[in-house]
């Protein structure tokens, strides 16, 4: 008698962990820093797991590795889908809190796909012992941010874990949005000659957080720039349509990490002009005393736009016209040279490569 054959396809698992365990036997903070190690985790562990090479149905949406996934529906509409988790400490900081951040982060991921945000989900992981009125404040802030962004929280989940198992509160938000026809935002669209713009001064969020973090506290009026950017993106798209090639918000790892990612994905070079990069006086002061390079410090309300050269001035004007774009500037351009690399022209006319962040940027004394 023949043995029964199974009609179910069993998935094959790679037996060996792709992250070199001898070098990284445990996850470290650097793996979440937004730089090289984060990239390694994504490219070597997550992507191969979720989009294995050589499979019959390719996971094109994931392979794009953009802030959000672009999904084609059966009809003509394209949806953007994104998720983001928020673990920031301290929970309340100048200019925002973990609640408003949770809304802005996901709304911005959708906006960077060119999408109009439609709906959000919110998942809470709460630590036993979190003061109820703190939770109330965070929820209020989240609701206000959603309302201001014109998007509904439509579903959610709540879990409570034992004391010590979560840092007060962790929030995950996921969002869907609709991408209008004629919008095609992707790293592959960047080409030599394009201009690189940003909507305002950099490094605000990272410095605002540090100003209240124990061990590095200083008195300052620097506020996080945390904001929902879809309105700003809307005005860029209205102005320049499909001459907008790439949009991305530089969060963890700073402007430098984001531009390096884009340069790598698009196989183009980017040249930055240090003197053109907007930065607030106080943020500069804080970076100087801590020995931090502002190009690697986090932002939460900034949008990098790579646009066709001829649309540059118009987009700059549109940005400056918008409340979230008053400090906008053209900070560089896309070039065919040094593909995959970002090169900076320093204030005194020298050149240096702006590398991807390695691990976490630490304040220094040297």
């Amino acid at each position: 008698m023949e043995a029964p054959t199974s009609s179910v396809q069993r998935p094959t698992f790679a037996v060996q962990c792709p992250i070199p365990i001898s070098e990284y036997p445990i996850v470290t903070l650097a793996h979440g820093g937004g730089g090289r190690l984060t990239q390694m985790l994504i490219e070597r562990m997550f992507v191969p797991a979720f989009a294995p090479q050589g499979e019959a149905s390719r996971n094109l949406a994931l392979e794009m590795l953009h802030d959000g996934a672009i999904l084609q529906t059966d009809g003509a509409a394209r949806l953007a889908f994104s998720t983001d988790s928020f673990v920031v400490s301290p929970r309340f900081f100048p200019g925002g809190d973990i609640g408003s951040l949770a809304v802005h982060g996901t709304v911005n991921d959708l906006a960077m796909c060119g999408a109009r945000p439609l709906a959000l989900s919110v998942g809470f992981i709460l630590e036993e012992g979190l003061p109820m009125d703190e939770l109330w404040r965070i929820v209020q802030s989240l609701a206000a941010a959603a309302k201001c962004a014109g998007v509904n929280v439509v579903t959610g989940d709540t879990k409570v874990v034992e004391r010590g198992k979560a840092d007060g509160i962790y929030i995950n938000t996921a969002g869907i949005g609709v991408i209008p026809a004629g919008v095609d935002i992707a790293p592959r669209r960047a080409q030599a000659g394009d201009l690189v713009l940003i909507n305002g001064p950099i490094a605000q969020h990272g410095i605002a957080i540090m100003s209240v973090r124990e061990g590095l506290a200083f008195e300052t009026a620097v506020e996080s720039d945390s904001a929902a950017l879809h309105g700003l993106v809307g005005s860029i798209l209205d102005c320049a349509g499909d001459r907008v090639h790439v949009l991305r918000d530089p969060t963890r790892g700073g402007v430098s990490s984001t531009l390096n990612e884009i340069a790598g994905q698009a196989h183009i070079g980017i040249q930055l002009n240090e003197a053109s990069i907007p930065i607030d006086e106080q943020v500069r002061g804080a970076c100087e005393i801590l020995g931090l390079d502002p190009l690697y410090v986090a932002n939460e309300g900034k949008c990098l736009a790579i646009v066709a050269r001829e649309a540059g001035e118009a987009v700059l004007a549109a940005l400056r016209d918008h409340p979230l774009g008053r400090g906008a500037a053209i900070i560089g351009e896309v070039v065919a040279d040094h593909p995959g690399k970002v090169v900076l022209r320093s204030r005194i006319g020298g050149r240096r490569i702006v590398d991807m962040l390695s691990g976490e940027q630490l304040p220094r004394i040297c």
């Binding site: 100003s211 009026a221 002061g285 804080a286 100087e288 005393i289």
Partner: protein, 85 residues
């Protein structure tokens, strides 16, 4: 070694253990700094700060020295021009 940043003294507070502290502004960012090593410094003076300590008072006259030298170099260059031609 030696991230030392110039900052402006906003106020000076003698401390209970005789270790003078003060608030110093770095482009608007204010940090509490130990001023014990710059006893001659006053409010509105600039000091060089390293790891929370003021290590020296910045001499504002000498600060222009770099530019005096550049000015001299300018003048020399102008003197040389007719000969180069």
């Amino acid at each position: 070694m030696c991230l030392g940043v110039p900052g402006k003294i906003l106020n000076i507070e003698p401390s209970s253990v005789g270790m003078t502290m003060g608030k110093v502004s770095f482009g608007g960012v204010v940090k509490e700094v130990c001023l014990a090593y710059v006893p001659e410094a006053q409010v509105d003076d600039y000091v060089i700060v390293h790891a929370g300590f003021a290590l020296g008072k910045l001499d504002e006259n000498e600060a222009m020295e770099v530019f005096d030298l550049l000015q001299q170099m300018n003048e020399l260059a102008e003197l040389e021009l007719p000969q180069a031609a």
